[in-house]
């Protein structure tokens, strides 16, 4: 089995945050927002292709490139943002762990510390590579959403027409939902992750075709899973007028509507996705921050050699787990704020990428072609527009 960086990245992309956003959006708008997956898919492919190309040509991580070319202040801004959103996102993953286990009747005071310790040991004791493979096999379980969706007996013609006639709700809530959907599909840290994986695999320009295929397959996985989550929730929760705030709610409310099995399948998928991302996210975040600021990093280093790295990694994991364990933790504001940070960060990272990838000095003959530039720049402009709206909306709605 050949697992390229694209497929791995695509699987990590559907984390607890993603599942939550897709279910909440579908519960509220039914099939109405499924169309957003199509532009998201196009932009996702274009962005990841750029990351892969930069990684292959330069052999340098995105963090390295940004630090060396964008100056220290922008770097500082990006990586403080990345750190905060890393903590926020990891918190969401633990919320996913807590929520999914509660569906099976396990309290979060047991599941969360247990998972946190397990994840920490997995990474620090150096069996990460095996863990990654196990998770990837398990992440096939994300396809169980297809089962969940079909059990909800959706109306396929209605779904089809909803995609062909995209609806756009110009209210504060509707806009925020669209931004949330795009933001969770194209998370900023994924760009760094993608580029590092490409370098680690030692891919080469002459195998570019396979790399591209791998990226497209990865993005299809992401979008297909998202599609079925939205169908599952859109066909059951929406017609019954059930409004949810968490992915756990989706799992619980599926029970009376689509059966106990559908509900448990949904929860199991959420659990696996949450653990998988709770392993990778803190690790990746700590790694990129260290890369940018020049600290030693990597799990093949000893604690003394890479103190900053391990402290950061442990810190992110610890803080995130503790936040979830606080009784009545303000989960919704936390996930909202980490989405806001993502929303501000994404255009900045993309902007840096677009500038870097068009520099001859860095990319040589592999600078962007016209089509990629057009799609890339439009994505940047639209995302900046969306993020600006997201920031202004709360002010306007007061």
């Amino acid at each position: 089995m050949i697992l390229g960086p694209g497929i791995i990245t695509g699987s990590v992309d559907n984390d607890a945050g993603g599942i939550t956003t897709y279910s909440v959006a579908a519960a509220q708008y039914g099939y109405g927002l499924i169309w957003t997956l199509i532009p998201s898919f196009v932009v996702l492919v274009v962005i990841q292709e750029m990351n892969a190309r930069m990684g292959i040509v330069t052999g340098k991580g995105l963090a390295d490139l940004i630090r060396e070319n964008a100056g220290i202040k922008i770097t500082f801004f990006i990586f403080i943002g990345l750190l905060l959103s890393g903590i926020g996102n990891t918190t969401t993953e633990f919320a996913g762990v807590a929520g999914s286990m509660e569906v099976f009747g396990v309290t979060k005071y047991i599941s969360v510390p247990l998972v946190a310790i397990l994840v920490w040991i997995l990474v620090v004791k150096g069996t990460y590579k095996i863990a990654e493979r196990i998770f990837l096999v398990f992440s096939v379980s994300l396809l169980t959403y297809v089962v969940s969706a079909i059990m909800g007996k959706p109306d396929w013609t209605e779904i089809g027409s909803a995609i062909i006639h995209p609806q756009f709700d110009v209210s504060t809530k509707g806009m925020a939902m669209v931004i949330g959907l795009v933001g969770t599909t194209i998370a900023p840290w994924m760009q760094f992750y993608m580029q590092s994986s490409v370098i680690e695999k030692g891919l080469k320009m002459k195998n570019y075709k396979y790399t591209l295929a791998d990226i497209i397959v990865g993005c299809i996985i992401t979008v297909v899973v998202a599609f079925f989550i939205m169908v599952a929730c859109g066909s059951t929760l929406h017609p019954n007028g059930i409004v949810i705030n968490e992915a756990k709610d989706a799992a619980l409310s599926l029970r009376p509507l689509a059966g106990n099995l559908a509900s448990q399948v949904f929860a199991f998928g959420l659990f696996i996705a949450s653990i998988f991302s709770a392993t990778i996210l803190p690790l990746a975040t700590a790694f990129f921050v260290c890369e940018a600021f020049g600290f030693e990093a990597g799990i093949d280093k000893k604690w003394d050699e890479a103190k900053e790295f391990y402290v950061l990694y442990t810190g992110i994991l610890f803080v995130s787990a503790v936040i979830i364990l606080i009784p009545n933790a303000p989960l919704i504001p936390i996930s909202l704020w980490s989405q806001v940070i993502n929303g501000i960060l994404l255009p900045v990272v993309l902007l840096s990428m677009m500038v870097l990838i068009n520099k001859n000095r860095i990319m040589g003959s592999h600078v962007n072609k016209k089509v990629t530039n057009i799609i890339g720049w439009s994505a940047v402009i639209i995302l900046i527009g969306l993020s600006a709206t997201l920031l202004i909306l709360p002010v306007l709605s007061r």
Partner: protein, 425 residues
Amino acid sequence: MTSLTTFYLSGIIGKEAFGADGDAIGVIKDLLINAVPSGQNDPNQQMVIGVRLKIKKDTGFYSFKTFRVVKAREMINVACTGLTQLSKEEIDNGLLLVENILDKQIVDLNGRKLVRVNDVRLATLPAGTFAVAVDIGIDGLLRRIGISFPIKRILSLFKISIPTKYILWDDVQAIDFSNLNIKLSKSYAKLQMLHPSDLADILEDLGKKSSTSVFSALDEEKAADVLEELETHAQIHIVESLPVNKVADVFEKMPADEVADILDELEDDKAELLLKEMEAESSQEVRELLEYDDNLVGSIMTTDFLSFSETKTVEEVLRELRTKKPEAAELYNLFVTEKNDRLIGTFNLRDLVVAEPDATLSQIMKSEPVSLFDNQKTTAVAEIVSKYNLLAVPVIDQNEQLQGMVVVDDVVEDLISERKTRKRK
């Protein structure tokens, strides 16, 4: 005026230089230092020789001789008494502190690793201005962002101090010369003294462009040792990005089994091209090894070994070793063969040293030696090495002819790398 003024690069970049009459002359964009040392401990190698100055809309390089950095009441001021343009040659032989050092990765020769530069510390002495050290600590980072002072104030309330980390300029090797037409072998001179394994680790962490240029600056012997130590995909990158004749020269200096391992990973056309470019003798050995399957003993054996006839005396053998000066691994186990290369015994350095000079090999050798067949599975090697406590095991073919030997180093490498691939991120 004090004779010593120290300042940071970040404190001077973007500052106006003022003339004697107090007029602003231009904005300092970068400092140029002497990058090509004329000798090992050339004190001038870290002297600031030029400054990139933006005057109105034009930027140019000017000699630093007419510039002086002075500190008055904690404020850095740059005084300038005139402008002399630098020649192209002077610029090409220099290293730009902002362009090539700041925010870039450099090699810390003492720590033998790559670090990122947050700031550069300079000092003005009567003889001139010099780069003294690079700042790689958190302190430098905060200073660059401009929040060092407030954070230090807050932390001092809790009696916490921010650690400062400097590397002296002597222990710094710049990597990124991308914009200069500099002679690389000279500029990377400091790297030659690092151990090949350390150099290999550094090359693996570098970007593709830099790793190629650093590698091509190494002399052939060093390059061969480093290439051997690199991980597979780094090896392939180096081999594919350098000219064929250069790679062939390096290959000739490497043990045949290591070369075969690399060629195995390349495309057939490229491998053939390299084999043709190598000297016939070296390429023949490699070709023979390439015929073995990956999981057979033949694929991991080295063909660099020493064999003698049983009639040789201890003294003759020692003399031969002195003239040949073989690599350490070749001495792990020494072989005695008959006319048609049939293996009949082994002996080691100890046997040789404790024996009388006129004793013959037939008297000191261990006959009926433990050996491996070239078409045996590699899984058998570890067991034999540990069971008989051997540093190197002879490899024979079906006709009992000696083909090579498997060295314990290579087996250990395989065992560890098996574990490592599981461990690495």
